[in-house]
């Protein structure tokens, strides 16, 4: 197991290296540069050139890449052109929001998706099954931004139950420790702050969860269907075990293994889905910042954030694989 982890981590090195090279070339081939955004609309060509020079953007790309890599060794992604602050600081400040949102979406998707998928599979062909499958398919088919709008129109504008934007009520002065507001509220025992942050998470959470939810429902359903037909479930039934034992120990435990993999992969979708969701809900995470950064041609942020996201994604999947190994002994010995 340890060897497996070490191996995967080592494999990460060339992948990240390749990613950085690819990204670097790619980003720096984008037309335009940060100078327009720094200087605004009236800048003269001369001053733009000066900005480019002082940012080192006039040097050959490999020199720039070399400089980037030299700093990267010390885990320094440089400084955001947009905000003039270190990229890692920006990431550290914004990632908790995205993390909170992603986790919420995952909790929603998993919390509803797995039970629903299970029930659909057990009552295969029933209206519940058909409804679930249809509903989950529909979930994938609604563009997120449209879903977000409809949710807000219903729950914020009309019913006034959930806030439509932001992460916490502006009128609240909550203490922040981790940057994940719900957690902060719990840590500092400011229950109302935690509750308020939680309310703010509901709508973006649902919007972001729609796609992973559909995937999880369908995967769970298919997987349960498959496992239910397995011989060992029949064996368990033949042993006269109670329905609960059969369900929990024999069906779900096995059926959830492939679901776990899918969840791991869905994290990638969540992270990129966050770009849209955070924009529409004015939710200050890495997604909306990344979007701004592209406009700003904020190379250090783009490089740093995308690589960090890729790293998070790869690590999450590694974690999934590891936990897979912990649950499934067949994978353990390798």
């Amino acid at each position: 197991m340890i060897r497996f982890i070490v191996r995967r981590l080592l494999q990460l090195v060339p992948t990240m290296f390749g990613l950085s090279l690819l990204l670097f070339i790619w980003l720096h081939r984008l037309p335009g540069g940060p100078e327009t955004s720094i200087l605004g609309e009236r800048a003269t060509e001369e001053r733009r050139a000066q900005i480019r020079a002082s940012l080192g953007l006039d040097e050959p790309i490999w020199v720039q890449y070399g400089r980037f890599m030299r700093k990267l060794v010390a885990f320094d992604f440089g400084t955001s052109i947009q905000t003039g602050r270190p990229v890692m600081t920006e990431f550290g400040q914004r990632f908790p929001a995205t993390l909170e949102l992603t986790v919420t979406a995952l909790v929603i998707a998993i919390g509803i998706g797995i039970p629903l998928g299970y029930m659909a599979a057990r009552r295969r062909g029933s209206w519940l099954d058909n409804g679930t499958v249809m509903g989950s398919l529909l979930g994938v088919c609604v563009p997120v931004f449209f879903l977000a709008y409809v949710l807000k129109a219903i729950f914020s504008e009309y019913l006034h139950v959930f806030p439509s934007s932001g992460r916490q009520s502006d009128l609240l002065e909550a203490t922040h420790v981790t940057g994940m507001f719900v957690l902060d509220g719990l840590i500092t025992r400011e229950w109302d702050a935690a509750g308020d942050a939680l309310l703010h998470l509901v709508l973006p959470g649902i919007a972001l969860a729609s796609i992973p939810f559909a995937i999880i429902v369908r995967m769970t359903r298919a997987s349960v269907l498959e496992v239910v037909g397995e011989d060992y479930v029949r064996t368990a039934e033949a042993k006269g075990l109670t329905e609960r034992t059969v369900r929990g120990r024999h069906i779900l435990r096995n059926a959830l293994l492939p679901v776990a993999t899918v969840i791991g992969l869905a994290v990638g979708g969540l992270l990129s889905g966050a770009v849209l969701t955070e924009t529409v809900f004015a939710f200050g995470g890495i997604g909306s910042f990344l979007r701004d950064s592209i406009e700003f041609r904020d190379y250090p942020v783009l490089m740093g954030f995308i690589m960090m996201i890729a790293l998070v994604y790869v690590l999450v999947n590694l974690a999934v694989d590891v936990s897979y190994g912990l649950i499934d002994p067949r994978v353990r010995v390798r």
């Binding site: 060897r3 070490v6 191996r7 080592l10 494999q11 390798r334």
Partner: protein
Amino acid sequence: MTLLSVQGLKVHFPIRRGVLFDRTVGHVYAVDGVDLEVPRGGTYGLVGESGCGKSTLGRALLRLSPVTAGRVVFDGVDVAALNGEALRKSRRRMQMIFQDPMSSLDPRQNVESILTEGLVAHGLGVNAAQRRTKVMETLDAVGLPRWAMSRYPHEFSGGQRQRIGIARALVLGPELIVADEPVSALDVSIQAQVINLLEELQAELGLTYLVIAHDLAVVKHISDVVGVMYLGGLVEEAPSRELYATPLHPYTRALMSAVPVPDPEVEDRRERILLRGDLPSPANPPSGCRFNTRCPWAQAKCATERPELVEVRPGHKVACHFTAEIDAGVLARN
């Protein structure tokens, strides 16, 4: 008269594992030093427990498995040393029949295409019409209706599929056919049809067979000479009648006594030699005589010295240190 002669054949599969780069940490000794000879027009039967290396040996003869060491002399040519185009050309004369008739047929190819593929590959048959005639003749030979040509494998019953597999092997006009468990996937009543077909074809076309099976009765029925394999090596080889009458190797004896006979009289009378435990792993074979861990007659010597396959009677070879003693009944079972 010898068509096929195998000398010191070894097939070792490397076990690769490593942190960053895979290193070979050991080998699966699938076939570990096998000598055998098959005369032209004869049938050599190979039996043994699952995982003892029968299939690997059969495949190695056709170079479908890599050969680690040894010679496979087919009609005077060492096939094990051939490569590239020469190897491909040589395949025309040696064919294979597989165990699972379904998985060995491409589900997307119709029977005609399955049968002509080899002809095309070897440039046999000048034109499509000729090839078609050839295919039809072969279908007739294996007892399939001609309309089968345009059908797909899944439209046939198991027995018919196996006939297609046989036809595919036959169509190239090979001299040697390696049949890897040709009947074990078939229903009892179909097995006999296929066995009879194989026998008829041999009589008609003068084919040479190497038949692999784990069912001793089948092997004994079809073969002139039977080789008993245990953990990568031959432990006994004898004409089939002789083998049944006087099995010499302890393993053969145990095998014989284990085969159930559909006759209550025989069953009630039989004395079983029950073996302890299971086949050891070919990756970590026991030292000395491979069978010593399960042998009822095992002695100290057996754990250290590996017995050679020696001819104890004309045509009857055994690899056991104590053949004579066991046969004479002087060695007690432990």
